[in-house]
């Protein structure tokens, strides 16, 4: 369902994403509405769902609780945005696009996984 949502919304079209993030030239603002639609719907169900004591198929809810703003948060987000603007892919669309068997999606996902492993390795030194 998530993948279909991404596809219908246009997020899996890297050219459309770049058209949205590139404010110069022919600006395409439509992708801004993806988040509007997503949050709009999720917000309604979120409140209803959290009235339950537990999820359907698990013992407890696992929702992040941190509220601190840290340099890692800001730095990480900044970097993510740079990568997103560079390639036009973010993680979800990248994975979904693998189904298209295109080289750019494959290259993106492989390098993304490498980047994730690298970050984990840096954060936790060996020994």
């Amino acid at each position: 369902m998530f993948a279909l949502g991404l596809g219908v919304s246009g997020m899996t079209d890297a050219n459309k994403v770049i058209g949205f993030l590139n404010l110069a030239g022919d600006w395409d603002p439509s992708l801004a509405f993806v988040m509007v639609g997503a949050i709009g719907v999720h917000l309604i169900f979120y409140r209803l769902i959290l009235r339950r004591k537990s999820p359907l198929f698990d013992d407890a809810f696992h929702i992040p609780t941190r509220r601190d703003i840290t340099p890692k948060l800001v730095g990480g987000a900044a970097l993510f945005g740079v990568g997103w603007g560079l390639g036009g892919f973010c993680p979800g669309p990248g994975l979904v696009s693998l189904a298209g068997l295109g080289s750019s999606a494959g290259v993106f996902v492989a390098c993304m996984l490498a980047g994730m492993v690298f970050q984990k390795a840096l954060h936790r030194p060996i020994g």
Partner: protein
């Protein structure tokens, strides 16, 4: 106008999917987190993550069969640039603890201050990066 309708509708479907994951397994649908969690531990408890990722691929397959024009790689970017972009996205999402789905959709829904900051920051650097390339490249 139709573009905006598709975007909103697609977003709504994403919202539904995230809601279902929350109801079913009590988890937030942050893709970078789901992948990252698998990179950390491959044990049985992560099986919902595998299912979700498999679902993303299956969904991709369905898109290719029904709406193939929805999936497209960036025509204006070389493979080298895409590779670099991938590495940065991978590193950045793990460092920052989320991406457009984790912080942007799920985090903002919870009114998380961390997600608000993260979303504003990655939107800003996203706009700046793509615009700079658009202007100078």
């Amino acid at each position: 106008m139709t573009s905006i309708l598709w975007a909103t509708a697609g977003g709504g479907i994403i919202g539904l999917a995230a809601s279902w994951l929350l109801l079913a397994k009590g988890r937030t649908a942050g893709i970078s987190g789901i992948i990252g969690g698998l990179l950390s531990k491959w044990n049985d408890q992560s099986s919902w993550r595998w299912s979700f990722l498999l679902g993303l691929l299956v969904g991709g397959g369905i898109l290719m069969a029904t709406l193939p024009q929805a999936i497209a790689g960036p025509e204006s970017r070389s493979l080298t640039l895409v590779a670099v972009a991938g590495g940065i996205v991978g590193y950045g999402t793990r460092l920052g603890g989320g991406c457009t789905s984790g912080h942007g959709v799920c985090g903002l829904t919870r009114f998380s201050p961390r997600s608000l900051v993260a979303t504003l920051v990655f939107m800003a650097t996203g706009f700046v990066t793509a615009t700079l390339i658009g202007v100078f490249a």
